[in-house]
Symmetry: D2
Subunit: 361 residues, 4 copies
């Protein structure tokens, strides 16, 4: 199913070159105040054509809300919200129908759906489908904000270049304003230079997005299958190009000792129980422990590159060489930043609504 | 909920010091042949007390199947299967009730459940609950095997020591027979030595488990929220002590270029479409591409250590120092190996049953 | 949630006086041939303004399919299909906001949603929402037809007037062509006369719809909570104005003896096992037994009547008398006939897809 | 699946002649006080062997709670509770394996499960499985009682004999103490006489159970698929032998006019909005309206009778005549009374927990 969430439930709609891409959101209580302009603001953050280092395709996505919000308030009905697709020429995709693009879902979709799916522009496997995730997240964020919960994300690394640890929240706001969404001013130019270089080579590069969730009370999440890690990783791994997710110390934990890794408890100035370090990434036993929830998501280099590649002609059963056309992001990371935080917001809200923590008004 | 899966659905039962730990398995068609001894074999692999480098606690877990299997065949009813807990002295856990152990779920559970949960031995947050996962996985593996699908796992690294790439399947079988479950004979002694050393220090260490799923046809999985990555990461992150999951190239992808990362398609000797490399980890667009599905799971160092640590006395609201007693695994990785493969088997079977790929007889 | 179904899943959208009413349908395999005109044909059957005995409001509902069907074939995406609402004057509903209409959901919705729901025209509680059920059913019927399964419904009774047992399928086709959808030509005029009379009185009347499902193989359904009766009654009781559902012998069974009620098994001419009577309504132990599945649904008299009624002014906390305006169906039964069969089709298809009975192509 | 419920979720376990029959209950918050003796009391009410008009089989079902309740309090874990089956001689069922009993699920189960299910004593289709429903309901009732909600049921009719309307709650308590569970003292002897007579004939009879839910606040339930009627009918139709369910006026509504059927609103002495009649059965638009929720359930005559019947020998493909042995209830209605109220309690609690109405402590 293209659906996720128990109490805050979202269903992705549409396809890359279909009439629209969007989402159905269920679970918003009647009377919830929702500002449609905040949805457009989040959509703006993932939009292509913003700078010389993203794809040159221009989309002026503006959300259309057909049901579920009247006069800035939720009615309790399912919310149908989407962005219309521009009429685009899909003939290129017909020309490559028999030569699956390396790194893309062309091959697997063709085998699974026997040519019955919408293959144009990647169809339902396209990154453009994240528009629906962003719309749903922009609604979730408004509900979380009323509870004092904020979800931030930013570029942690591109290739070998790694940003220093962030001091929320000024630096987040800073990161949101530069082209590469990095909270480290010394890295802005190096990031841009590197991405520009791989673009000129007709190549692409990967990177890491870090996300922090602030303001969660202790005890959100459930043991086992509704743990925060299980639910967050589930939605994050559905985003195209994600190859890994780690919480807190993450993969570095494999090289640590227990005496280093355990976050010792102490009392802060206000007598609140906190941990001195945060290797746990804000989660113990699947539940929030009151510290920031921190996770990192790795994005592979964009699969669409201009360099010559080898593939197979499925019809003629021969090896062929292959060069991709079109305008593509040499590095998806800056545009993936808002996708990660909005996807995360959906899950956190779902856990909160499921657990009966708050009455959101 | 303590439940996961749509068509192959499992619900974990019990708690560490309760009467039993086990599982309800739903979705096994009437008539499926199931060998209860194969369940015991998988349980044996996760059992403590197997060697000098695991906990010295001895459990002789033998599965009891109360419903759903008669004369070696599934009846179509939900299967209730469990292992009885020995009567254990839980008084130690009462003595530490007010001093949450660093790295454990004591603090978060206490806040969430207000002392109403079963806190003895970690209760429901205990690693002992993975007995239910292993039972369910041992049933799933029998069903997968009939379809030619095998799920293997082994120790990839402990601390800085990393095993070389595995050549399935001889090396897997080899790994399964040594104490540390590593498929690299040159690492057996170094692993054992390292773990023995940290144990003597009263400390613990972490590591990485790699898992390979062989024999999947092309097209298992769904786009978006039922992608193989989403579903596998969901169950894997529910296992205690997991801090990260990565597929194929994983976090290394952040430092690669597209031209390196894209797996080029070619035809093998039999004319089957394969990829020359497997950075995708066997998955494109959420669907299996016919190559081995490969993922790695990082386990933090065991939280239970004998070294002195700081914590907080919750009742008296003071910082206290704290030394843990009891017998614990200095490194959980070797015992986590079968937990990972069995958890993965549950998810893969669920995807296969949901997609209507096969009629399992 | 406004959603039902596991493998064939539908989510109702919109509200009576909102922009649209419609449905999201998930679970249609890519490549399924779907004729949009057959959806319009089913919508035509529930449309008002068809005759002198239905409401005089005129709606020319024509379905718009935004996603999921291209060139007469399903793409595998969720199908978004709806009918646009005409701009209507909702001021009447504002004038009665404080005086809940007897028999309607005004009072309960107001208490539950604290005035935040869309109350115009009954909002989400309106019978107009059945447009989404009919669209989803019209798709389901096309898939069922390929498996040789047909779902028929017709008016069984209005007030005291009860049609004789039907001989499928000629009589069904006949019933579908007369104004009151009755398969008994001797009852057409009496039905029309009776409804005309209550309409002239400013009153309304109820009746019973019978539904038959033909062509089901033996064994569709599951024991217990996915029994055919459980699943059918669930969706049928969601239709506004339904007060009861009975299968086979139904309420008459309370007055029968076992020796009368038990349907004895025998062999038909072709050696197929059949039952001599069908008090079971085609279902034994929750599973289809190969005989026609038969159930009856009772609809209460339309709540909207012109006669003076008593209600309460919620704001002023006083009893008031009340006369409704507007054009309403004096008897909803003929228009409910296609709603019942289309709702039933959704459930039957869901059971079939869940049970892996067929591969629908 | 053998599972129902979203927030209060129950899974039935076992089979008639297996090791046990019982249930897994999920969704009871940690700390909820639960009296196991109240479970036994409800089980006692459905127990056979209580009188000369029920089956003479004797079962002394006493519940065993293996997980989820410690010292009279829920731990938050899934609750595993069951009744052990006595060792019984199943050889009779082997002797009738090829001659499906009229009215039973033998034929449909055999076709669906191809002899792989547990056929002994009806297996999973047996009325004995309602033990699990009663256990789950007995837990739900304890939670509802804290919210001031009570679920009552009683025999409304047997054959032609119909009890007069009940004045809760004295009469309910009265009904619970007589053999036939009727709240009308003038009907006790006639009921017993009638059932005794059909028993002597080797025959059986049906009847109707009425259920009332008192104390529900206004607004419980959801529009459409989570309406009170949809959810109640779903679980009630899963009970073996049920042929129909009606709410409030029920099937009689087909013969009423709107002006008779509409329940007019008025203010009671305390200024609370009530309706003067209750044809709605306490539900408007799927939501509770504050009046008693009333529904009736019809049970067919017991299928197991001693009179000679015809059936088919499946193996030899011949018509045969057939006489059943064993001890059976000539009328299941008195024993079905507690099954109906306990099943209803599960659904009502689920709706309340899903809607976030109350924090149950």
């Amino acid at each position: 199913m293209d659906r996720i969430g128990k109490e805050y439930s979202i269903t992705l709609l549409g396809s890359s070159h279909g009439k629209l891409v969007g989402v159905i959101v269920e679970g918003v209580p009647a009377g919830t105040e929702l500002d449609v302009e905040l949805i457009n603001m989040e959509l703006h953050r993932r939009r292509p054509g913003q700078s010389r280092i993203t794809t040159e395709r221009i989309e002026s996505d503006s959300v259309i809300v057909e049901t579920g919000i009247i006069d800035g308030k939720a009615t309790g009905e399912p919310i149908l919200a989407f962005v219309k697709n521009k009429d685009v020429d899909s003939s290129y995709y017909d020309s490559i129908k028999n030569t699956p693009r390396p790194g893309h879902a062309d091959f697997t979709n063709r085998v699974k759906y026997k040519d019955h799916h919408d293959h144009r522009g990647g169809g339902r496997a396209s990154g453009r489908m994240t528009v629906g995730l962003v719309i749903a997240g922009a609604i979730a964020k408004q509900m979380l904000r009323k509870l004092g919960i904020e979800v931030y994300s930013y570029t942690k690394s591109i290739a070998q270049l790694v940003a220093r640890p962030i001091n929320i929240t000024e630096e987040f706001i800073y990161s949101d304003k530069n082209l590469v969404r990095v909270p480290d001013e010394n890295l802005i130019e190096p990031f841009i230079d590197y991405v520009t270089k791989v673009k000129e080579e007709g190549d692409s590069c990967g990177g890491i997005v870090e996300c922090q969730i602030l303001g969660l009370p202790v005890g959100v999440g459930e043991p086992w299958f509704d743990s925060i890690e299980s639910k967050l990783s589930h939605i994050i791994f559905s985003i195209p190009a994600v190859k890994g997710v780690e919480f807190g110390s993450g993969f570095a934990a494999s090289k640590m000792k227990g005496s280093e890794h355990n976050d010792e408890f102490t009392l802060d100035e206000e007598g609140k129980i906190v941990t001195e370090t945060n290797n746990a990434g804000g989660i113990l036993g699947g539940l929030s422990n009151g510290m920031p929830v921190i996770f990192r998501t790795v994005f592979k280099p964009t699969s669409s590159i201009k360099k010559e590649q080898k593939t197979v002609d499925i019809k003629n059963k021969t090896d062929v060489s292959f060069k991709m056309e079109g305008r593509h992001d040499p590095c998806i990371v800056p545009r993936a930043v808002p996708v990660v935080s909005n996807a995360a917001a959906c899950v956190i809200l779902d856990l909160i609504l499921s657990g009966g923590y708050y009455q959101i008004e």
